[in-house]
């Protein structure tokens, strides 16, 4: 395969070019309620070409190998058009030439497990909620995505890496009269099929929460002190802060770039955040990014001070900062963009009870239900929560959405727990989907958060 890709690349005389070919194997099994609505295994493939010519960069994603030469001419033409319309030529930070083949260590290779076994396991988890009368429906599925990637560039790199992602997850919907509630449930990872076994407890717990939510009352809108559980604090880290560590998002936004200067004091003294794609067995693990750069742990915030950010070769050169290996594509249909790998808040030494004791009164809110950011402002939902009275958990509340200003909220992080948990299911949509986007945190106490209510 490398020879074929190299011969395709030899048709360009541009300063730099790279070509990524991927075979993607997907298995999907989907239940809607009791009904199996989809099952199948499929194989697709495609190419992404990038060309840097005369200081202009451009990409073409194409399906058919015979279109390679046409793709090269198109990319060259577009790169030259870019170069004619920008003041500063685009440069790539210098990266090592890599020749490597890498397969991750797996606990049970999903490729060796029959689709029948995958179907039965999914059916088993799907049946757990459906036992209850007040569970209206489920939407639970098995997903397996195997990306076999071949990367070559004109500098001489030749990298073969496999990314294997599996999960069983979905939505449990409860209903009582006109009131409908739902809760997400699931497990997954990038280190094999074994992680999917023995997850009954997860589906049983989430079923119970979906049922309890039918009796919970809506949260009161207003400004509250809150404790976020690790899942929710992880989403906060990813959405509110993480995205603005991605250099491409701020490169051409001068006002945000000014705020996100290295050495700026952005958070409280106790807050440190790191992104480390090299953590083995975590969802966001990879060895090389889709520019062929080896991933490295990148400290982003240290004791509240911004000390690093996530880069592509292009952005590292533009910012004159270190390469980090964070330029990732969804698959063969996309040129890579800067993405987080495993981002998390570093744990402190406090227990959950310490956090409750410090807060006294407020809300304990749990599990993310989608989040979004627009720079200094973010919004995300929690699946459920509890009122905290005198440092004790009281009744359950629902319909929780929180919103805030990034910089104020980073300063308002008052206590950090010791119980770090990283997410097992990803799905970040920044123009393209990243199913391996992984985030985590311990329990975190934040002061003065706006809760929307309904």
């Amino acid at each position: 395969m490398f020879d074929l890709l190299k011969s395709m690349l030899s048709k360009t005389d541009s300063k730099y070019a790279d070509l990524r070919y991927e075979i993607k194997k997907e298995i999907k099994i989907i239940f809607n309620g009791k009904e199996l609505t989809q099952i199948g295994s499929n194989l697709t493939d495609g190419y992404v070409l990038r060309i840097l010519k005369n200081g202009g960069l451009s990409s073409v994603a194409f399906t058919k190998g015979i279109d390679a030469e046409k793709a090269i001419r198109t990319a060259e033409m577009n790169a030259v058009l870019v170069s004619e319309n920008i003041e500063e030529p685009i440069q790539f930070a210098k990266a090592d030439v890599v020749k490597d083949t890498f397969s991750p260590k797996l606990e049970e290779d999903p490729r060796r497990i029959s689709i029948d076994e995958k179907l039965e396991l999914t059916r088993k988890y799907n049946n757990l909620p459906l036992k209850y009368e007040k569970i209206a429906t489920t939407n639970i599925g098995y997903m397996e995505v195997i990306r076999e990637k071949y990367f070559v560039n004109t500098e001489g790199s030749e990298i073969r890496e496999d990314l294997i992602t599996t999960r069983i997850n979905g939505l449990i919907t409860s209903r009582d009269g006109n009131l409908i509630q739902n809760v997400r449930a699931g497990t997954g990872g990038s280190n094999g099929f074994a992680i999917l076994r023995n997850a009954q407890e997860e589906f049983e717990k989430k079923t119970s929460i979906a049922l309890q939510l039918l009796k919970a009352k809506p949260v009161e809108a207003g400004v509250h002190n809150v404790i976020l559980n690790p899942s929710l604090a992880g989403v906060f880290t990813h959405e509110a802060f993480g995205h603005f560590s991605e250099a491409d998002l701020i490169e051409d936004n001068p006002t945000m770039r000014k705020k996100m200067k290295i050495n700026a004091k952005l958070g409280s003294d106790i807050l440190s955040i790191i992104d480390d794609p090299t953590m083995p067995n975590q969802l966001g693990f990879y060895k090389y990014d889709d520019e062929g750069v080896m991933a490295r742990p990148t400290q982003l915030l240290k004791n509240g001070v911004l000390v690093g950010r996530l880069h592509s070769r292009r952005s590292a050169a533009a910012f004159r900062e270190q390469l980090s290996g964070h330029c990732i594509a969804q698959d063969y249909r996309y040129a890579p963009i800067i993405r987080m790998g495993n981002i998390y808040i570093e744990p402190d030494t406090n227990t959950f009870d310490d956090l409750l004791a410090t807060m006294g009164n407020g809300l304990y809110i749990l599990d993310a239900k989608g989040g979004q950011t627009s720079g200094e402002n973010f919004t995300f939902g929690a699946q459920y929560g509890y009122i905290v009275k005198n440092s004790k958990l009281d009744e359950m509340v629902r319909d929780i959405n929180m919103s805030g200003n990034l910089y104020k909220t980073l300063q308002n992080i008052a206590v950090i727990g010791s119980d770090l948990v990283l997410s097992k299911i990803g799905g970040c949509g920044k123009g393209q989907l990243n199913i391996r986007s992984c985030h985590g945190a311990p329990h975190v106490f934040i002061k003065n958060v706006i809760i929307g209510g309904v």
Partner: protein, 436 residues
């Protein structure tokens, strides 16, 4: 495709082949500077077959190996997905104007020049950061099936996004131009974004409470997502629609009429058949506040023992590759009937309240129940009938079945936006949470 149909037919009872070829060009400017040019040339084929009452499905990007594609579909039969329906025999479809050949003579250079022209024009009149993008998409779609259907469609699209950003964020005023062919952005379109931005430059922090809230066409999707969920044949069948028993009932204000109009070929992407080869038709969803219809694909119409409405599309909430997806009920040509007042008249009429110019977190919250709880990104604050500033660190929340009963007025013009073609609408008595 014909060969594939023949070998698939020999191995099953009924067959459908869906083929899509796409060429997309995209030019992006950030802060008035060219940032990126991207091109995608993609193709793919998906196969559905029915054998002994079971449904098989497979797809590929490169049709190198027909037998493998067929085998994948045959293998998937073993799972036992129930096939309730037959593939339709569709013929004599209306001819729609969906393709403008002039799109082929347009290059990325034209897009770069247009972006440069707009950036130059706007940057002299505002201090805000200007991000624009221009691009085109050409699609060639063909569906054939064993019932004798063979339908073809070529579409051409040109789109231009014009965005002015508030400092320290991606919160912005934006508007899209969406056409079948390349045209320069008209002045009034550029002026709207510029004028709305410049009027709202001041940062304000209004008091929390219940107030009038205007949803711009660009944020109407927040409300429409909830209605789409409640009226989808899939959700009705799965008993997760609060509207399941309410056909014929008045659920919204009488000023609200919402319909799907796939045959309107003044708009880009008009369709005479859906992704299952069913003929498309006009479908009222809400007429003068009354719930008229749910929408169905082949599968869920059969499940609900009703007729398909021609709304089976291979779509998903987060996009995804059309070819890889199975059809589900989807409204791809949604319209809200306009009212009689201009946008500036609506702002005067509002007197005091919030304009939702951008929304954060529309996908979170209890969508089926109709609840919404979104961050303003930004909101515009209206006082004394004028836009006086923008609000960021705030949320609005409500439920569409309450909000849509409290409609004050509707804009006289519709704009193509995410999820449909909508006017702005003012609602009364919506809860706004702020730090005050």
């Amino acid at each position: 495709m014909e060969k594939l149909l023949a070998i698939a037919k020999a191995n099953s009872d009924k067959v459908e082949i869906f083929s899509l070829e796409q060429t997309i060009n995209l030019v992006k400017f950030e802060n008035s500077k060219l940032k990126n040019i991207e091109c995608k040339v993609q193709s793919g084929i998906s196969l559905r077959l029915i054998k002994d009452g079971k449904l098989g499905f497979s797809y590929t990007k490169n049709l190198i190996n027909r037998e493998e594609l067929l085998q994948n579909a045959l293998d998937s039969l073993k799972g036992g997905v129930e096939a309730t329906f037959d593939f339709p025999h569709t013929k004599d479809l209306p001819r729609l104007s969906t393709y403008d050949p002039s799109i082929e003579n347009i290059s990325n250079k034209n897009f770069v020049d247009e972006c440069n022209r707009v950036c130059k024009k706007l940057s002299s009149k505002t201090k805000g950061q200007i991000n624009v993008s221009a691009g085109s998409a050409i699609d060639k779609l063909r569906i054939i099936n064993s019932s004798g259907t063979d339908v073809l469609l070529s579409t051409s699209n040109y789109f231009f996004h014009n965005t002015i950003l508030y400092p320290n964020s991606y919160a912005a005023i934006h508007r899209m131009l969406y056409l079948k062919k390349f045209e320069k952005s008209p002045d009034e379109y550029l002026h709207f974004v510029l004028d709305t931005y410049n009027r709202s430059l001041k940062k304000v922090n209004p008091k929390a409470g219940k107030m009038k809230v205007l949803f711009m066409p660009e944020t109407m999707y927040v409300l429409m997502w909830r209605l789409l969920s409640a009226t989808s044949g899939k959700d009705v069948y799965q008993k997760q629609s609060p509207m399941a028993e309410k056909i014929g009932e008045k659920i919204f204000d009488a000023k609200i009429t919402i319909y799907d109009d796939p045959l309107n070929d003044k708009m880009p992407n008009a369709r005479s058949f859906d992704d299952e080869g069913m003929p498309c038709r006009y479908l009222p969803i809400i007429e003068k506040g009354r719930l008229k219809n749910f929408y169905y694909d082949l599968h869920y119409s059969k499940k609900m023992n009703t007729k398909p409405t021609g709304h089976g599309y291979k779509s998903a909430m987060w996009g995804g590759d059309t070819v890889f997806l199975k059809p589900i009920p989807s409204l791809e040509h949604l319209h809200i009937k306009p009212g009689t007042k201009s946008f500036s008249e609506l702002i005067k009429l509002m007197d005091k309240g919030i304009v939702v110019a951008g929304a954060l977190g529309a996908h979170s919250g209890n969508i089926q129940n109709g609840d919404f709880s979104i961050g303003l990104s930004p909101g515009l604050y209206v006082d004394n009938g004028e836009i006086v500033g923008h609000v960021k660190d705030a949320m609005i929340a409500g439920n569409i079945y309450n909000a849509m009963k409290n409609v004050i007025d509707i804009e006289d013009t519709c704009y193509p936006v995410s999820a449909g073609t909508f006017p702005a609408i003012i609602f009364d008595n919506i809860s706004v949470a702020t730090r005050k």
